[in-house]
Symmetry: C2
């Protein structure tokens, strides 16, 4: 059983939750998923700054110090395998009306050993029928309202694919259900811009920085799906799997140029922060 | 403190929830809000048929008999005021991956006294900046992923309005954050069709049936926002407030023709089922 920290207390097993909690009832909250390497939470400041910013926009009080305390308490108890920290902030219970004024937030952090064998595994993608609306908070912010992504992931799983590619309402690339998407063409790196219905990933930001450092020219812009077939390589980034090459889209094979240079750059920034390359398990 | 029924057991206070529950973590589940009048759950078959249908689409096992048992247990303990039953079905915990295969569902029902003074209260609406995408499961199904509606409700509350009017991605009327919308012109009743990014409300269906019975001509179609200003009356329907006249949109007053005939028809169907007119508190 995994360990958790809930509203200040470390425990295992179930949590005692108010049945009116708006995270449970309405997806009214936020989360972050953070990889811990060598018991150090990777890119934690970027993750928690994103949560702070989204909490401000949604009007949910956010206690950063409490999150830091909870993460430290859980990593203290963890072994030195890679761990997954999931930080969940809900607006809590006690509010009146859908707007949720006056609720008292709930904060849950869980810590589980991560199967590092999942990293860098190539993925077969299916294009989802669900389109992402760039203006929607459910699209822009990492909220608990994830049903569109779940629906898309189930479409992919039903066809034995690894993940779903989601387009935006303008039929341009957005992201997968759990990752951002990149294309390479020579030393050019292309990825959908912030206004394309993406969730702006922390690993996306770290990868862009690493790519600049490695001499890549980075283009953040609208990307047509057809460009995927002409790319040298297509890959996904997220906070746990880091880089995931895409081997096919809708059962059509894609080019798979070597990504070692980008992976080296990304893992070096991780190593500097955590004291261990995340590829060394 | 309100009473609840959670996975077969009646209780009060917190519930013991698996911290990995996908309702809490991902808005991965469904809900229904049912008014009980005279200890009889109003339009319960329509509510639970909708939940069954959505559960089938999302691949969440749904145990209708368990819901009936839970509702009966809670209404047995309730006094004879109007009650709000909230039925929450989550995909549960124990699944691998976003698709959620192999999870064991959780079923929560709460029962609280309803403030009947909220019924039939006129509303001032604000047009939300959030557009509803007709294809999105979060739009079509009554899922726990409600953040777009919450965001819209907060926009309205910040301007001291009662609710937000949501348009669809084609700039036609959809619904409010918690209700369907209707217009009358003489004996014509107009409401956005099912393909307009609405959640198809149970009270919407009951109101349409009552309107037909009362001699109204009902049009379900795409509706331009400008039509609201030319209507004899505009009103909202939902399962708790039943009918809510709209007095203004974006601070511009709307016509408010009398709705008694429609309210009588709707409440008569409720009286036949519950043995009491819901207006008699």
């Amino acid at each position: 059983m995994s360990a958790h920290w809930f509203n200040g207390v470390v425990g295992e097993g179930p949590i005692a939750l108010d049945p009116r909690d708006r995270g449970l009832n309405l997806g009214d909250g936020l989360f972050e998923t953070i990889l811990a390497v060598n018991r150090v939470p990777l890119w934690a400041n970027m993750h928690l700054a994103r949560m702070q910013s989204a909490a401000n926009e949604l009007g949910i009080p956010f206690n950063r110090a409490a999150v830091d305390t909870g993460i430290a308490a859980l990593l203290d108890r963890a072994d030195d395998r890679h761990q997954v920290l999931r930080v969940t902030l809900t607006r809590g219970a006690g509010a009146r009306g859908l707007a949720g004024t006056g609720a008292v937030p709930a904060l849950l952090i869980t810590c589980d050993a991560f199967d590092a064998g999942l990293m860098f595994q190539p993925a077969a993608l299916l294009t989802s029928t669900i389109r992402r609306s760039p203006e929607s908070p459910a699209t822009r912010l990492k909220t608990l309202s994830y049903i569109d992504n779940i629906f898309a992931a189930r479409e992919a799983a039903a066809r034995a694919m690894d993940d779903a590619l989601m387009l935006n309402t303008g039929d341009r690339l957005a992201c997968s259900t759990i990752a951002n998407i990149f294309l390479t063409k020579g030393r050019k790196l292309i990825t959908p811009a912030r206004d394309q219905g993406i969730l702006t990933g922390v690993t996306r930001q770290a990868l862009i920085a690493a790519a600049h450092h490695a001499g890549y020219d980075v283009e953040e812009r609208a990307v047509k799906p057809a460009e995927l077939y002409k790319a040298d390589a297509v890959f996904l980034t997220n906070s746990l799997r880091l880089i995931r090459p895409v081997k096919s889209l809708d059962q059509q094979p894609l080019n798979m140029a070597d990504l070692t240079l980008l992976a080296d750059g990304l893992c070096e920034t991780a190593r500097m922060q955590c004291g261990r390359d995340p590829r060394l398990i």
